[in-house]
């Protein structure tokens, strides 16, 4: 069943935002993001003496008149960024009424749109088990976005997900853009290796943890027999009392703090996204206030 991941009105609103890129990035293609090397953008960077073979159009004739020496103007190079978005497509993301799956797809679509608007190339992957399934590859330009983004509707959420095993072996460019991991991170599997790997590649990494309200503040009381949606052999059978609820909330805090710590240690951005949160509020308020968007 096709999902309506995001509506056009919302896309029009977020078009005005720009992705905040903390560092200038080196990319293979020109783009709207400043590079560490000199290039052909309109933004002046420096002068150097003219050498034969240089583009004579870049000679600063005013400087020549003043110093009687030829100087060539240097401009910052603008490179195209490659935004890679990893969506945790395990069963835990798609179970229940939490809409974590829809929220994840909305986030991915929104980040993709922002990147497209910045003339960046966008690839979207679904992480299932220890593999990456490419949903959209090298999407560039709004037309491509419009024609391709619908593929998100076909993403199925089932099975387990092992982020590190899936992301670490994948090929990613060195310092060529942003990597966004969208997951609930509710797993025993190690996900820090994936974050380290992306950070090592000098990529700007953002971890978006999507949790539903029921997960943050469960309403279950009394005698409950919980089955794990990802692993049928795992269950939790308890008389849910006030003490257990209190311990559960401590566990939630622990998990969130653990991810935050990992992210902070590698200069990675982290954001906790409620499955029920409005995408509008999320982008216009929360991401801006946390410095992810400007």
């Amino acid at each position: 069943m096709a999902r309506k991941v995001i509506d056009e009105e919302f896309l029009g609103q977020i078009e005005t935002l720009q992705m905040l890129v903390k560092n200038n990035v080196a990319g293979m293609f020109g783009g709207n993001h400043k590079s560490k090397t000199y290039g052909s953008s309109c933004e002046f960077a420096d002068y150097r003496e003219y050498a034969p073979g240089d583009d004579i159009t870049k000679i600063d004739w005013n400087a020549y008149a003043r110093f009687e020496n030829l100087y060539t103007k240097l401009f910052l190079d603008e490179r195209q960024m490659h935004t890679r978005i990893y969506i945790d497509a395990s069963r835990s993301m798609g179970f229940g009424k939490g809409k974590k799956d829809e929220q994840s797809l909305r986030l991915a679509a929104a980040f993709a749109y922002l990147s497209v608007c910045e003339m960046d190339k966008v690839s979207i992957y679904a992480v299932r088990d220890d593999k990456l399934e490419c949903v959209i590859s090298g999407m560039l330009g709004k037309e491509a976005y419009i024609s391709s983004i619908g593929k998100l509707n076909d993403v199925e959420f089932y099975g387990d997900s092992k982020l590190s095993e899936a992301i670490v072996p994948s090929t990613v460019g060195y310092g060529d853009g942003m990597s966004i991991i969208i997951s609930d991170f509710l797993t025993d599997n190690d996900f820090s290796a994936a974050i380290n790997h992306l950070a090592d590649k000098k990529r700007h990494v953002l971890c978006a943890q999507v949790l539903s309200k029921e997960e943050l503040n469960p309403k279950a009381r009394g005698k409950m027999h919980f089955f794990d949606s990802e692993n049928g052999s795992k269950y939790y059978r308890k008389n849910i009392s006030r003490e257990i609820i209190s311990a559960y909330k401590q566990a939630v805090d622990y998990v969130v703090e653990r991810i935050k710590t990992v992210c902070a240690s590698r200069g990675v951005d982290y954001m906790l996204v409620g499955a029920e949160d409005s995408i509008g509020d999320l982008f216009f308020n929360k991401l801006v206030s946390e410095g992810v968007l400007k």
């Binding site: 509710l186 089955f227 003490e243 257990i244």
Partner: protein, 623 residues
């Protein structure tokens, strides 16, 4: 064990409902969640693991069921059969005069009280006590009293009566209590031997073996040369136990040394007449006593009073022919003054105890006003006088026979005492219409011709509606007896009888002008009586000498009355037929603290229900 409110067990229906709710709620709810990772992780953060938590659910159910059971029991009000448990006690205490028989150093009544106090003291706390006292009246001293100390204090204050006690009324009251509470424990404490007792704990207190007594005691003056010189005291002396030789002594005016005595042989349970002559006829009182000591001294002494002792009376006779009336009054020691009718006026003729208006047929005389300071006799009245209480309606020939009243009134019978059925001859009589209250003593042709009562001044008034000179009445047997009775009526003493039986009610005369009337009992207890009527009644509750004092126009008049011990109560061992409470007795006992326990039950139930509510709030988020 039984229950006062068995319907209270309907509350137990809540138990199956509770169990069903518990079963429904206690099933594990299966639910698939995104991940059990957080729940499993939460185990690390559980501060402590209380093993009791594992049975919290079933513990709550048990407590809730207990709460329901407690509430149901509390409503049902169980009555337990507890050995030595609290109960309701009803004591019937015989307080008749015979209970005054002394056994050792205490009376039967004291023994009975101690027996009741012993039962009360040994009863379980929480018991209730009811005491019916059967004496001169049947009184419920206390009913349903649950305070042992108070009950014993009230019993200590009880005293026996000196009257003939009947257990019949007490039995009726006890039967009512038995019908309302068949588990009530009944105790009958008496000195009577009861042949048939049912549903009652019968306690016999008949200590005391010896009793002597006096009955039918009286005296007569012995006349010699027309004067009283000696007195003979007669009576019967009883031995209510075995044969005895008894000494009867006579004391004059309370002297410490007997004036005379007699030794009398008396058989067991029988009486022997005695007669003792004393050399004096001038006394106020004679005390007759049995010298030998016994176990009931109250019936060993009788005091007789001289009724002739009294005031002298001045009489004014207003008559042309006063001979017959004057002779009759002077025979009764009256001091008579004769006055011609034409000389009489109310203003000048005052200060007499009795005014006699005697009118002739030849010269009729009617006083213009009634004297207010003394009694009045009218003989052959010829006209009506204001405040006299009657009016004349002409003269009538006496064609028929005269008849004496047949009224059953005590007063009329007293006034006709000593008369016979002999006829009285009248020539004619005056027809009288009565507007006041009179006792009609003699009729002629159906019209009252002799009647007595009180006039408008409150003084006694006697009317003879015929001419004594034209009748054989003054000289007839009935005439003499009737005039003597009417003189006594006209000048009443405070007490008509001076020797009575305790437990009886005597009528005391309220003399004209009497402002107060007071009786002092043998124990010194004073009681002021009502003086609004002509007679005031008083119940004699003690044996002994009563003193009656009246304030008549500032002059104190005194009379003595002796109440003797009732004869029936002198018998040491009386056997009565039965004392049967009909019905099936219950066996319930109470724990006696039910109300206290009830409060504890309620508090406990409320606490447990509160715990249940908190439990539900936490477990099921019931809001």
């Amino acid at each position: 064990m039984s229950f006062l409110q068995p319907l209270g067990f309907l509350a137990l229906l809540a138990i199956p409902v509770l169990i069903i709710i518990y079963i429904i709620k206690s099933k594990y709810t299966e639910q698939v969640i995104p991940s059990t990772y957080l729940w499993e992780l939460s185990e690390r953060f559980l501060k402590r693991k209380n093993p009791l938590k594992a049975i919290t659910g079933i513990l709550s159910l048990i407590l809730q069921i207990l709460a329901v059971v407690f509430i149901a029991l509390a409503i049902a009000h169980p009555v337990f059969v507890v050995k030595g448990g609290a109960n309701d006690y009803c004591f019937v205490l015989d307080s008749s005069a015979s209970m005054n028989v002394v056994d050792g150093n205490k009376t039967r009544f004291d023994s009975a009280k101690e027996e009741i106090k012993r039962v009360i003291s040994s009863s379980a706390t929480g018991s209730t006590y009811t005491l019916i006292c059967a004496g001169d009246t049947t009184d419920v001293v206390f009913n349903g009293l649950d305070d042992k100390k108070s009950a014993i204090n009230q019993i200590n204050q009880l005293s026996s009566s000196y009257s003939t006690g009947g257990l019949d009324n007490a039995l009726m009251r006890a039967q009512k209590y038995f019908e309302s509470n068949s588990s009530m424990q009944f105790y009958l404490v008496t000195d009577k031997t009861i042949e048939n007792v049912q549903n009652v704990n019968y306690v016999l207190v008949n200590g005391g073996k010896v009793n002597y007594g006096l009955t039918d005691t009286s005296y007569i003056y012995n006349m010699s040369d027309g004067e009283s010189t000696t007195t003979t005291v007669t009576g019967k002396v009883w031995s209510y136990s075995g044969d005895a030789t008894l000494t009867v002594e006579v004391f004059i005016d309370g002297a410490s040394i007997p004036a005379n005595s007699a030794r009398v042989q008396v058989g067991g349970n029988s009486a022997t007449d005695f007669s003792i002559e004393i050399s004096s006829a001038d006394f106020s009182s004679i005390t007759v006593s049995v010298k030998e000591e016994d176990d009931l001294p109250e019936d060993n002494t009788v005091i007789l009073y001289d009724k002739t002792e009294g005031d002298s009376y001045e009489v004014l006779i207003i008559s042309k022919t006063p001979y017959l009336i004057k002779a009759a009054l002077e025979a009764a020691n009256m001091s008579c003054t004769v006055l011609a009718p034409e000389k009489y006026s109310k203003e000048t003729c005052q200060g007499y105890s009795l005014y006699v208006f005697d009118s002739d047929d030849d010269k009729p005389f009617t006083p213009d006003a009634l004297p207010a300071d003394g009694a009045v006799w009218f003989i052959n009245p010829t006209g009506s006088v204001e405040k006299s209480g009657f009016s004349t309606r002409g003269r009538s020939e006496a064609g028929g026979e005269t008849t004496l009243s047949t009224s059953s009134s005590t007063r009329v019978r007293n006034l006709l005492k000593g008369t016979s059925s002999d006829d009285t001859t009248l020539a004619s009589y005056v027809k009288c219409g009565q507007t006041g209250l009179f006792y009609n003593l003699m009729y002629c042709n159906g019209d009252p011709v002799i009647f007595a009562g009180s006039n408008g001044h409150g003084n006694r008034e006697v009317v003879f509606a015929f001419d004594w000179n034209l009748s054989d009445f003054p000289l007839s047997f009935n005439g003499r007896a009737l005039v003597n009775n009417l003189i006594n009526y006209t000048f009443p003493s405070l007490a008509d009888e001076t020797l009575v039986v305790s437990g009886e009610t005597i009528s005391l005369n309220v003399l004209p002008g009497c402002k107060s009337l007071k009786v002092v009992s043998p124990s010194g207890e004073e009681e002021a009586l009502d003086t609004s009527g002509t007679i005031s009644e008083y119940m004699l509750k003690e044996v002994g000498e009563y003193t009656v004092t009246a304030d008549v126009g500032g002059i104190k008049k005194t009379a003595k009355v002796f109440a003797q011990f009732p004869e029936k109560e002198r018998i040491l061992n009386v056997t009565e037929t039965n004392f049967v409470l009909t019905g099936e007795p219950g066996t319930e006992r109470r724990d006696g603290r039910y109300e206290d326990i009830l409060y504890i039950f309620i508090i406990l139930a409320v606490l447990i229900m509160a715990d249940w509510a908190v439990y539900c709030y936490e477990q099921y988020q019931l809001r």
